[in-house]
Symmetry: C2
Subunit: 352 residues, 2 copies
Amino acid sequence: MSSQIDFSSWTCPLPLRDYPNIVLGHGGGGKLSAELVENLFLPAFRNPAIESLGDSAVLRVPPGRLAFSTDSYVVRPLFFPGGSIGDLAINGTVNDIAMSGAQPLYLSVAFIIEEGLPMATLGQIVDRMRIAANSAGVQIVTGDTKVVERGHCDGCFINTAGFGIIPEGREVGPALAKPGDAVIVSGTVGDHGMAVMSVREGLEFETIIQSDSAALNSLVEAIFTASNDIHVLRDPTRGGLASSLNEIAAQSKVGIALIEDQIPVKPDVQSACELLGMDPIYVANEGKLVAIVSHSSADSVLATMRRHPLGIDAAIIGTVISERPGLLSAKTKIGGTHVIPMQIGEQLPRIC
Amino acid sequence: MSSQIDFSSWTCPLPLRDYPNIVLGHGGGGKLSAELVENLFLPAFRNPAIESLGDSAVLRVPPGRLAFSTDSYVVRPLFFPGGSIGDLAINGTVNDIAMSGAQPLYLSVAFIIEEGLPMATLGQIVDRMRIAANSAGVQIVTGDTKVVERGHCDGCFINTAGFGIIPEGREVGPALAKPGDAVIVSGTVGDHGMAVMSVREGLEFETIIQSDSAALNSLVEAIFTASNDIHVLRDPTRGGLASSLNEIAAQSKVGIALIEDQIPVKPDVQSACELLGMDPIYVANEGKLVAIVSHSSADSVLATMRRHPLGIDAAIIGTVISERPGLLSAKTKIGGTHVIPMQIGEQLPRIC
């Protein structure tokens, strides 16, 4: 993903040029709504299911267990280094589906737009969604657009929902971690949250911190070629690594013991966190996963991750234990143990 | 649906009482988010899939074609005579799925909430969703909550997505209307839009105009027991009957000729429309459907509709013709014909 946002790459289709900004009628279900669908959404997302323009998309789905997920995206600003609300909206829901061991297939996209949003901004967001969906290998098959009056929204909110099929034999879930399992993270933590915060707070470092926004479904497929003893997969988004591992410890009724200095953190992210008084393990990621796997398959899963472009910084960061069920803990450098609690509220509002 | 909103029927669960209003942390993915899920959403929507609390719901789905749909709801005010944003969010997506001939099964629910929304208001919305989902026979299996700062949203926006299975042998779609087909509407038009507008504009009539918000899946099932020659089903929401029929005429490349005085309209809705300078055929419905069926099955479909509680006012309102393809027209009382165009923009903002 490039750090430069190429605002010139999108040009407004002819029939939309009479409206340089979104007006209430674009969400009214009449002619303006139809023009938006026909000239913006259809060309970007083109596939047979979306083109039927029915009240719902009709899809033939292979038999099996289906993983179904949804998320809304309210990130501020809409574009940030390494990504945009459009990338997040695709990758975030693709990742939630993939974390059930499923192969994501189809997404819905629903926009809530503030009256006055430049048409070009919406066009750039849609273009990012197109690229992200192509890259993840999923199809956008149905959607909705609502427009609310100026001051009653914040530029643009996006919801995506979607589903995929779980191949036979895969059994992953947050309650399946077992004592002895290894805890592996696929790369550096805190990148996304600090990329957004650096822009919002005007922080400057030697390099620009980039969001890690990425679709993790190909990494999940790679992991399953290495082992079928994958017990838990989770993408540590809001609340970061610490919150995800706390939830897994609680649901699996096990303890999780981290080796804190094994957790990969980029130096700039570390500096940004120190400046803002934050701990990177509580900061949101958008292109990382945690895999909890049997002890015997840990090395082969780790090696497989490291060969994948999204897993080159993967590391084993801890162990599942039977002691202290429900608690996440870490060994300190001088040999003591401290508990890492779930965060109470919101450290970084509007991060995704 | 009762016209009185029983605000006393919902009491805040104990652990949520420390927060009489929604704070940013309720959308932060930490402890407050978890409390909201555990004490509000889970008790309301309880089912095995949602209780696993994974990143996605894992579901066993019967084989067949799947209908997948999404809508966001931004209606203002949140509660109105005959319904609420909660009812709309369930019934609207159930209806979109049912209009493909599918039997709706599972929904996702995603909230975008403005900081400061009273917890009791959210509780009442969730309670309405619970009742509507039970009544429609669908399960809410996955969800998401985001909170945005005061002034950056408008109380509460809701997105639902969902899917159902289309039984073998049903072939309905907006491009399948054929010359000779009958156009049937399941009841009075314009009720929902005028119920909301009457509250917003402070209009008073002899009775309070009630929204028709309802789940239409049981009516669809009834129709298919009467005939399999159902070509098009559509719920005329935003843009009303006129916009839906215009879209069908365009997609099916046929003309549609209405007999205007056959279209059922409640007297109060007619009065409200006249007062506001609107035509009820452009006003949103949330519990009505249009069925376009073969000429030979029109009478049995009509009779079946009229025996169903949601179809007692059903009427045959027109015919599909080969002339004037793409156009919706109506016979005037003095025997002339006029074209009913698609509306351009937004007649009634924030109606759903």
